[in-house]
């Protein structure tokens, strides 16, 4: 079998395995979607409980539920959420739209900013400016996301009144949406860029000690040419792995940001579904994240092959 065929087989097997885990894990938790369906003040009679269990398909044995689960996936039917009163696909589509607006710009901006600045910081690590820059990024990287988000919200929204305190929008106009998203996107960009900055800085520091860098300098190339024409490409490999993960989890949302900025994105959706044992929503969300993670890994595999041909041999 060819290498490409083996890889595809490996990915398909991984998908099957993870999809099966997505079915098992929610059911392994104590309770089920009916446990807290109507709140703590409502006590249901046994007959009503039985009726609801049967409507939700919870009275069937696991084996039957598992077959139904695969039948749904193969027919692109993700089921119905009794907690959110809607088809799971509808819920996911509406949340993904907003989550993407929140996550995509920060992943892209964080990647560009962190990689570029990290490369420069690794190249000229002794300059006072780069040292200060590195300390600042390290500080951001070490700050708990919840705390930094609250601090930014306090300063820019509450004290300076530049941004709203919550939600994806108020009126729904494009400017209003941008206005609401700007601060959370900036905070997420800060986190993403600080992480990429630290990785890229370390990677460049390691690469620049190699012989090929010394050879390029001996050839009489300028600093920026050595960095961006030779070192950058080789130093990029660990960043590509991180970016593949970022893109993989782009639909999983950013729970802390969503909680601080009161945004109903995928992070909040998954958290609530976990708390209420909403199996269909959990399965649907995990399914999308799985597909994204596996696809992003496949893409990273291909990119790695291009950047470092040695990888293609394995």
């Amino acid at each position: 079998m060819s290498i490409a065929g083996k890889k595809i087989g490996r990915y398909l097997f991984a998908l099957f395995l993870i999809f099966s885990m997505n079915f098992i894990i929610p059911r392994a938790m104590p309770g089920d979607p009916l446990t807290n369906l109507l709140g703590e003040d409502v006590a249901l009679t046994d007959s009503t409980v039985e009726l609801l269990r049967s409507e939700m398909g919870l009275d069937k044995p696991w084996s039957e539920q598992y077959i139904d689960y695969w039948w749904g996936i193969l027919h692109l039917d993700l089921g119905y959420s009794y907690h959110l009163h809607s088809a799971v696909s509808t819920i996911l589509l509406s949340r993904i739209k907003w989550t993407l607006m929140l996550s995509l710009p920060s992943v892209v901006l964080g990647a560009l900013l962190g990689t570029f600045m990290g490369a420069l910081a690794g190249w000229k690590r002794r300059s006072a400016r780069r040292k200060m820059e590195a300390s600042s990024f390290l500080m951001i990287y070490c700050t708990p996301p919840f705390f930094l988000s609250l601090m930014c919200l306090y300063i820019f929204s509450f004290r300076l009144g530049l941004f709203p305190l919550k939600g994806f929008y108020s009126t729904g106009s494009p400017i209003d949406i941008i206005h609401h998203l700007l601060l959370p996107v900036l905070v997420m960009t800060l986190f993403s860029s600080s992480r990429n900055y630290m990785i890229m800085r370390g990677s460049v520091l390691q690469e620049k000690c190699n012989l090929y860098a010394a050879f390029a300098r001996a050839k009489g190339l300028y600093d920026e040419e050595i960095l961006f024409r030779h070192i950058f490409k080789n130093a990029l490999l660990p960043i590509i792995t991180m970016l593949a993960l970022d893109f993989g989890f782009i639909f999983s949302g950013a729970l802390f940001i969503e909680i601080v900025f009161s945004m109903d994105g995928m992070g909040n959706l998954i958290y609530d579904a976990l708390m209420s044992r909403d199996y269909p929503v959990l399965q649907g969300s995990f399914l999308i994240i799985t597909v994204m993670v596996v696809s992003a890994n496949l893409l990273a595999d291909i990119l790695y092959g291009h950047l470092d041909p040695r990888v293609s041999r394995y």
Partner: protein, 528 residues
């Protein structure tokens, strides 16, 4: 080139800041809108399927009855309510000046339809199908014939919104029905829009409302996922008041900050719900009254009140039921006396014979209790475990989320737990918190640990009684029963603090839904 890049970035940032300020300024249109901020987030626009949405919808779809600030149940959609001597026939005369927001009159037929419909289709109202024999209309009144006396019908009817027959008769599964757009209402306001993305429920004034005119054209409910941000929103003026159902009070630790601004006042009421120590009476040694009494003496109530509620409340009585409930009876105040607690245990045969600091049970083994801790109450969990340790009882703490807690306590997989009662929880079943203890009720937040026939008979008597004086006697009996048998121990009775901007006045709160009641929104007005 790099300098150009920096200049471009600075210009871009400046543009964003200007845009931010401009959009913010454009949004500052106060008008005559009252804005309520709440941490009770709405997950779906389903007035029968989403608990919080259901509470908010009481403004557009009022209930048949309501609770007054002193805990009495009186008519809201109903003009009056009468019950037959045998407690089996209830007659609710419907007001004739109520109109839906599209101009159609609310009829007794709508009320009849609501309860027929809920009994048939709403799982939360399944008790109706086993209690109500028939519903009929007689001279503008809706008459309920029951198959057994049920004194609490009027109170139950203070929680279900009256539905528009024209809309709901075509909806087969009410808890699955969602509508983010306009919904006709016959209250002083109706739901104009539910915007889940913005986290706002918009109410507009019902143009056909004939009663006392509200002082606002619209009301907005703003939901916040984070309580700290909600506090900032209050201070900033984004919202005018705070509301939360269930554990209704504004966080005590944030009160001073609001007071310091000088812009806020508080509606202060006694909470009908509370945090309490629940015991699995089916297990030893919790089934032993002496043990429960010793535990009650081992808890430092003042300290818990001070540390967990920052002093906003009082040390509770052994009678469990808080003073905000109707027919409250003064029972002995719970007392912290560790020496006495140890004496009671020693007298009852619990001794530390091997000197390891842990008492042995009657079976001779060390007492190690399974403490099922809800993550909602970390501080009191820690305190109570500490007090029990001082008494010589070791606890194995298992910290769980809400769903796991329900599952575990339904399977009696615990010895001790700390949980809370909500205002409605205290009123449900036979009132006065009985719903939490009667073993015939299972599921949700109830402990169902009391199968004492005397207690269950008392519950049945309460539910069958329609005489106020008799109910008062029964209420006293229930509280005496709690005080003597300690099936649950209240940890403190707290105050509900509801902050509101001083620019508004006339706030009115009831023990069931706090400030979220029709009378409040007719009474509040802007003063500043």
């Amino acid at each position: 080139m790099r300098r150009d890049l920096y200049q471009m970035a600075s210009a871009l940032l400046l543009c964003f800041l200007i845009l931010g300020t401009a959009v913010q300024a454009a949004g500052d249109s106060s008008g005559t809108t009252l804005k309520i901020g709440t941490p009770s987030t709405v997950k779906s626009a389903s007035i029968l399927g989403d608990t919080n949405m259901g509470v908010f919808a009481h403004l557009s779809n009022p209930t048949l009855m309501k609770m007054t600030s002193d805990g009495k149940v009186v008519g809201l959609t109903a003009k009056s309510a009468e019950v037959s001597e045998d407690g089996k026939t209830w007659r609710f005369l419907i007001k004739d000046d109520l109109f839906w927001s599209d101009g159609e009159k609310l009829t007794p037929e709508d009320v009849k339809f609501t309860f027929d419909y809920l009994a048939k289709n709403d799982p939360a109202a399944d008790w109706m199908s086993t209690t109500i024999e028939s519903i009929s209309i007689d001279n503008g009144a809706v008459v309920f014939k029951l198959n057994k006396p049920y004194s609490r019908l009027s109170l139950e009817f203070a929680t279900y919104p009256i539905l528009d027959k024209r809309l709901w008769e075509n909806i087969e599964k009410p808890i699955e029905y969602t509508n983010e757009g306009e919904m006709p209402g016959f209250g002083p306001f109706y739901i104009a829009k539910t915007d889940l993305g913005a986290g706002v429920i918009y109410f507009k004034k019902n143009p056909y409302w004939k009663g006392t005119q509200p002082k606002f054209d619209s009301i907005e409910i703003h939901t916040y996922s984070n309580i700290d941000v909600l506090s900032l929103a209050l201070q900033k003026g984004d919202v005018d008041a705070y509301y939360k159902y269930g554990w209704m009070s504004y966080p005590y630790a944030s009160i001073q900050r609001l007071k310091d601004t000088g812009n806020f006042d508080f509606v202060e009421t006694d909470n009908t719900g509370m945090i309490f120590l629940g015991m699995n009476l089916k297990n030893e040694p919790m089934s032993d009254l002496s043990f429960r009494k010793a535990v009650s003496y081992a808890l430092n109530y003042s300290e818990m009140l001070k540390l967990d509620a920052l002093g906003y409340g009082q040390v509770p009585n052994a009678g469990f039921v808080p003073p905000s409930m109707a027919y409250f009876k003064e029972t002995p105040r719970l007392e912290y006396n560790l020496t006495k607690a140890k004496e009671i245990l020693a007298d009852a045969g619990y001794k530390d014979s091997n000197g390891d600091g842990i008492l042995e049970g009657k079976d001779g083994k060390d007492i190690k209790l399974n403490f099922l801790a809800r993550t909602d109450y970390p501080r009191v969990n820690e305190l109570v475990i500490g007090y029990l340790k001082d008494l010589g009882i070791e606890c194995d703490e298992k910290s769980v989320d809400s769903s796991t807690w329900i599952k575990q306590k339904d399977a009696y997989g615990y010895d001790l737990t700390i949980t809370r009662s909500t205002p409605w929880g205290m009123l449900m079943h036979a009132n006065w918190g009985t719903g939490y203890f009667d073993s015939r009720r299972t599921g949700a937040g109830v402990l169902h640990v009391l199968d004492d026939p005397a207690f269950q008979k008392l519950c049945d008597d309460i539910m069958a009684s329609t005489s106020d004086s008799q109910l008062e006697d029964y209420a006293a009996e229930v509280q005496d029963y709690y005080a003597e048998n300690l099936p649950g121990i209240a940890l403190y009775w707290n105050k509900v603090e509801t902050p509101y901007n001083k620019a508004f006045d006339g706030w009115y709160s009831d023990p069931l839904y706090g400030i979220f009641n029709v009378d409040n929104f007719l009474s509040v007005e802007k003063t500043g």
